[in-house]
């Protein structure tokens, strides 16, 4: 692991914060450019309604909810090992949620109407629910952090943790339901998507947490206790396997329905997305991490567990790209049983290429999350403090 020279440590922090701030600013500039010129400067169109910004923002929003699982394991489920990690998971939750929301809000056709979105809420819309789900998420996590970091408020942290846990299950169900509620598209419209997004959030959030935690330990020249590494990598493997299982179920059920067979053939076998699915999502994002997390030569080493976590994060982007972009590349089946064509890409498979402003906006969202985390862990006390005696007891008795 990388360990900076203490004399240069402070300078390195400022360099990282400056890079994060700069990329965030470039992302904001890209959004202003899109706002001024219109979405004509993006690769999105009336066929690909949502593109790369949605892939990145949904990753950040889903992972933001999932990273709080570390806190829930401590506060709600009483796992001693996770309790000292709860504040860091809260910070990461707020940072990633901020990055994700920034991208999705700045990609709006009328980003200037954020206040309209806040004051005109249609409660039959999952997007409308978001106007309630996200602000309350922020408030709950902020209160939760307060109860954990302010000694006098400690007695309330279990209640705050439970409320946060329940809320983020609802929130991520809502994110999955954005797609579950689409009646007409072959790729979506399944009730399975709500629980699947929750498991995806556990997997991606924990992967992000492992990488950030390892970086912080290395930065401070500390070593992660082996017990913690072992518990976390086992948990990550469980979540990765669960996502893979749900993915298999989703596709198998779809393939069983004659009306969805053409789409399944397209996304799994006969399109540019088939390679991204099998190589990106299944191999890189699932099987390889599982092998690294279980193989005797790699499972006990911090560096390999971190590589596995990074592969899970990379696989998440592949998964969402195939899901969101691939789902739109396949034509809407308006006239089942007919071959159709029109001036509007009816009946035709289409190809999407993200433009530079979209790429910069997406990177800007990641940079916002990165910058908030970097500054947060620097100015506040987020480094986990383990009581090794308690930890040993937990490892042998309750965990």
């Amino acid at each position: 692991m990388f360990t900076p020279n203490p004399r240069h440590e402070e300078r390195l922090f400022y360099v990282l914060a400056a890079i994060g701030g700069l990329v965030s600013a470039i992302g904001l500039a890209a959004a202003l450019y899109m706002e001024h010129e219109g979405h004509v400067v993006t690769g999105m169109n009336n066929q690909f309604v949502w593109g790369l910004p949605h892939v990145v923002s949904i990753f950040l929003i889903v992972a933001a909810s999932g990273v709080l699982n570390v806190a829930s394991m401590g506060s709600v489920f009483g796992r001693v090992l996770y309790k000292p990690r709860a504040p860091l998971s809260g910070l990461l939750g707020i940072a990633m949620m901020s990055g994700g929301l920034a991208v999705i809000m700045l990609d709006l056709g009328r980003a200037d109407r954020a206040m309209v979105a806040a004051t005109h809420v249609n409660l039959t819309s999952v997007f409308g629910w978001n106007m309630i789900l996200y602000p309350v998420f922020y408030a709950l996590v902020a209160v939760y952090l307060w109860t954990m970091m302010e000694r006098r408020m400690n007695p309330y942290s279990k209640v705050a943790g439970l409320a946060t846990f329940i809320w983020r299950v609802i929130l991520t169900s809502g994110t999955g339901s954005i797609f579950a509620f689409l009646v007409a598209r072959q790729a979506y419209g399944s009730a399975l998507l709500a629980p699947m997004f929750i498991v995806m959030s556990f997997s991606w959030g924990l992967a992000v947490f492992i990488v950030v935690q390892s970086t912080m330990y290395a930065w401070n020249d500390l070593h992660l206790p082996p017990l913690i590494l072992q518990r976390m990598k086992n948990l990550l493997a469980t979540f990765v396997a669960a996502v893979l299982y749900l993915t298999a179920v989703l596709h198998l059920v779809n393939a069983y329905f004659a009306q969805h067979l053409d789409f399944e053939r397209f996304i799994l076998l006969g399109s540019e997305f088939a390679g991204l699915f099998w190589v990106g999502q299944v191999l890189i994002g699932s099987l390889l991490p599982l092998a690294l997390l279980f193989h005797p030569a790699t499972r006990g080493r911090v560096v390999w567990v971190n590589i596995a976590a990074l592969l899970v994060i990379l696989g998440a982007f592949f998964q969402l790209y195939v899901f969101i972009v691939g789902g739109q590349a396949f034509p809407l089946e308006i006239f089942p049983g007919y071959d159709v064509k029109s001036s509007f890409m009816d009946g035709a498979v289409d190809h999407y290429t993200a433009s530079m402003p979209e790429i910069l906006l997406s990177l800007g969202g990641l940079a916002i999350a990165f910058t908030m985390t970097t500054i947060g862990v620097r100015v506040l006390h987020f480094l986990p403090q383990d009581d090794l005696v308690e930890l040993e007891a937990a490892g042998s008795i309750t965990d």
């Binding site: 066929q47 009328r110 309209v116």
Partner: protein, 255 residues
């Protein structure tokens, strides 16, 4: 013995007043129906909506399109629609242009039977676009016309994801020289309005008026005396994606 004077009898006066009120209420309740019948007889298609009055929930505007009459290569309905509504921008990527109405060519896989038809917003009774819109900008008017409020659309495009007919477009570029009666906006979603500005003046939608074959018929689906309702009652018609149970206001004949 003299006959009682009805006007001087308080009880009678009360009954008369009450009866009058009930009769008035009854008239008000029945009047819309009578009015509808009158419209149906006077004008088979539309009647102008008076300024300041709300759209009537007793009316359901709709279209009947005879695909058998739709001529290959003819784009008159598309040209008329886009001229009427000021949809004139031509972007380098044609997928970024708005298409309020388009021609779809269909070939049945089993039989090879070919046909074509114009496709636009189907003005569903249960529109998914309205359900998913976070701000309520996507809305269904009382008379069944599905519209987008340009002032509250935030451009999230969720409605475009939800529409089973690919009927909606997103405005990808700044707009110039708009038709004042049809406000559009960069960054907003839009679709066929059934030429609501013309319908409210008692006119037909531009596409219907422009079709040289008379393949499109407009009218009140709720009025059994209207031409469209009578036609639908007498010939087999199709709702596109009827399996979704959205109850579209646009019906097709000959597919």
């Amino acid at each position: 013995m003299t006959a009682p004077q009805s006007s001087s009898n308080p009880r009678r006066a009360f009954l008369a007043a009450a009866g009058g009120s009930v009769a008035s209420l009854g008239f008000v309740a029945v009047a819309p129906g009578l009015h509808l019948m009158a419209v149906g007889e006077a004008n088979a298609a539309t009647d102008a909506r008076k300024a300041g009055t709300a759209a009537s929930p007793t009316v359901r505007w709709g279209l009947l399109i005879d695909a058998g009459k739709c001529v290959p290569g003819c784009t008159k309905c598309i040209d008329a629609c886009h001229t009427e509504n000021g949809v004139t921008e031509k972007l380098p990527d044609p997928r970024q242009n708005s298409q309020w109405i388009r021609k779809i060519e269909l070939v049945e896989r089993r039989t090879g039977h070919a046909t074509q038809l114009p496709m636009m917003c189907q003005h569903c009774a249960n529109p998914p676009c309205v359900d998913v819109c976070p701000t309520g900008a996507s809305m269904k008017r009382a008379d069944g016309i599905v519209l987008v409020d340009r002032h509250t659309c935030i451009g999230c495009r969720y409605c475009m994801m939800a529409c089973p007919y690919k009927a909606r477009s997103f405005v990808h570029t700044p707009l110039h020289a708009q038709n004042p009666e049809v406000p559009r906006g960069q960054g907003c979603v839009e679709a066929c309005t059934l030429c609501v500005h013309r319908v409210d003046k008692g006119q037909q939608p531009a596409c219907v008026e422009s079709c040289p074959q008379g393949a499109m018929m407009f009218g009140d689906l709720n009025d059994p005396a209207s031409d469209i309702a009578r036609r639908i009652a007498s010939v087999p018609t199709t709702q596109v994606r009827a399996d979704l149970r959205l109850n579209p206001g646009v019906r097709y004949q000959g597919i």
